[in-house]
Symmetry: C2
DNA sequence: CCATTTCATAGAGAAAAGTCTATGCACTAT
DNA sequence: ATAGTGCATAGACTTTTCTCTATGAAATGG
């Protein structure tokens, strides 16, 4: 391991991202054989194979996965050092790689905007994906900070709640349930439901709501985005439940918020980072920003 | 920075530890000119000088300090990766570098023993120094975890309390104050005090106790260890205050515990790590061990 | 089953990394 | 002031890194 070079880690990280030697070579402006050669050397100094070729496809071995994590951590450390140096020269700068689940994109930009205003030198990037992908990214240390609903129990992460995230049941305004009071969960479950894809946090929350009563709901339609769900609800295709934030930009009355049992469901948004991973000053600043500027509800994980 | 090598960082880290090129060369089995040469290259790729020679002495520039931190972080990441690989091969192993303030050495070994028993593969090392040195180490990322009394406000660290740490005032059993009830702080302050060196956490705690009442105490003797203080107290040279744990191994009655105002002072032991630094699985395990196995009192920082 | 895609191997050359010995220079301590 | 300590510089050598072009081999997908 002592004979590995930064360059090799850089190349390997590109491979891990693209899962392709050729693609990695392109992005780094190298030829493919160069990449192959370097990876051979890297695997030699690690002492174990890093990738596993099955036909055309390439996949990382477990060791490869771990090495990709280490490589990203090392680059985070180096970036932190360089930010530090820049700060000493008076240039306040930094980069913050952030990932958020789809639904968070309804409020995250406003937060980012305010943060960017207060920290002009910091360059913020936001990647949006669904909960499942986000947790995979987190385990791979792809980004520094992650915004998500309830964090998973099993993952190695540090998560803190920073904002309310109520889940509300909605229907079209002319739906028979609209205006009804204290709708029972059993009755609600009989409705045709419109749900996000599995892997979505919102879907998990809906399923959990009913699972507490031993009810399993069967979606009538499975839709890949909150916007698609809203369209379908307005088209009278069924009812659904969404994070309240997803409705913020709509005039009251456009959707009927159902007064059902246990609704709205009380949840929170969490800011998380992988346990044990290094993080930049910019990341610390953003965490502090979230936890200070918003009234936090609930306690630390 | 892309042209730096791991080797160069390794050499630089040795220099940062020894503050000497020659000494670094010796520990790495290199000649001194080799070290000089490598450092020149490293400084070139960083773009700024890393050390500053004033006569015989050498000191790190600010950039050098930051680079030493980065280098240690990188080695922590690599070690973590190697532990990970070993774990996958069935060898559960790992290293945990721990630092603790002097007074913690009265109970830390027992904790470490229990931890080592539960995690046989993990190699634990404990460095002992006073509070001031410990905080310096923490800022330099010299170790992964730190056990100390009340953590400083200004340092970039994550600290959590895991154990009570009462401060008790003591005197020789035949001291006039022994057996007296509710001794006033003013009267206590008039006694000849035996204090630890400045830079000690225990000393700071004593000073703070009196400072709350606007009293400044002047030590009659300044002693470099808790053991020396105990000896002096028994010799009738004065009174002092120590962490209760420092008295654990002594039979009751050997020292008189004074029933003074605000005593015992309620404090806690904290487990801390530098913010933003990577840490190994072993370190996470130790943190969890401390926080789970002991009844924690108080809340997160 | 053939064209295409993808990674591996071979051979080769320039650059750099990494180390040494020998020596010079600057400051310190006695 | 003189010896000693500690880093810098010069010159030289070997090894490794890093990259290329050209070509081979394996698997896939229409």
């Amino acid at each position: 391991m002592r004979h590995a070079t930064f360059r090799q880690l850089e190349i390997f990280e590109a491979i891990a991202r693209h899962l392709s030697f050729t693609r990695a070579a392109e992005t780094l402006h190298l030829t493919q054989p160069t990449v192959s050669m370097q990876m051979k050397k890297l695997a030699d100094s690690v002492g174990e194979p890093l990738v596993h070729q099955t036909g055309k496809r390439i996949e990382l071995t477990e060791t490869g996965q771990a090495l990709a994590v280490a490589a990203r951590d090392i680059f985070t450390v180096l970036e932190r050092f360089e930010d530090d140096m820049a700060a000493r020269r008076g240039l306040r700068r930094g980069r913050l790689r952030l990932a958020a689940v789809t639904t968070a994109s309804y409020f995250a930009p406003r937060l980012l905007g305010e943060f960017a205003r207060r920290h002009p030198g910091i360059e913020v990037s936001l990647r949006v994906c669904n909960r499942e992908q986000l947790i995979a990214s987190l385990n791979e240390h792809l980004d520094e900070l992650y915004i998500l609903g309830t964090p998973p129990e099993d993952a190695a992460l540090v998560a803190r709640p920073f904002m309310e995230n109520p889940l509300v049941a909605i229907a079209a305004p002319d739906h028979p349930l609209a205006g009804r009071h204290r709708i029972g969960l059993a009755e609600l479950a009989e409705q045709p439901w419109l749900l996000r894809e599995s892997g979505s946090g919102t879907r998990k929350a809906v399923e959990k709501l009913f699972a507490q009563r031993g009810i399993t709901i069967h979606p009538r339609l499975e839709l890949g985005s909150n916007e698609a769900i809203k369209q379908a609800v307005l088209a009278g295709l069924g009812i659904s439940a969404l994070s309240k934030q997803a409705l913020d930009l709509h005039p009251t009355g456009q959707f009927a918020i159902l007064d059902a049992e246990d609704c709205p469901v009380r949840r929170h948004w969490f800011i998380a980072r992988p346990a044990g991973a290094p993080h930049s000053a910019a990341a610390s600043a953003f965490e502090r920003f979230l936890l200070d500027s918003r009234p936090t509800a609930g306690t630390t994980l």
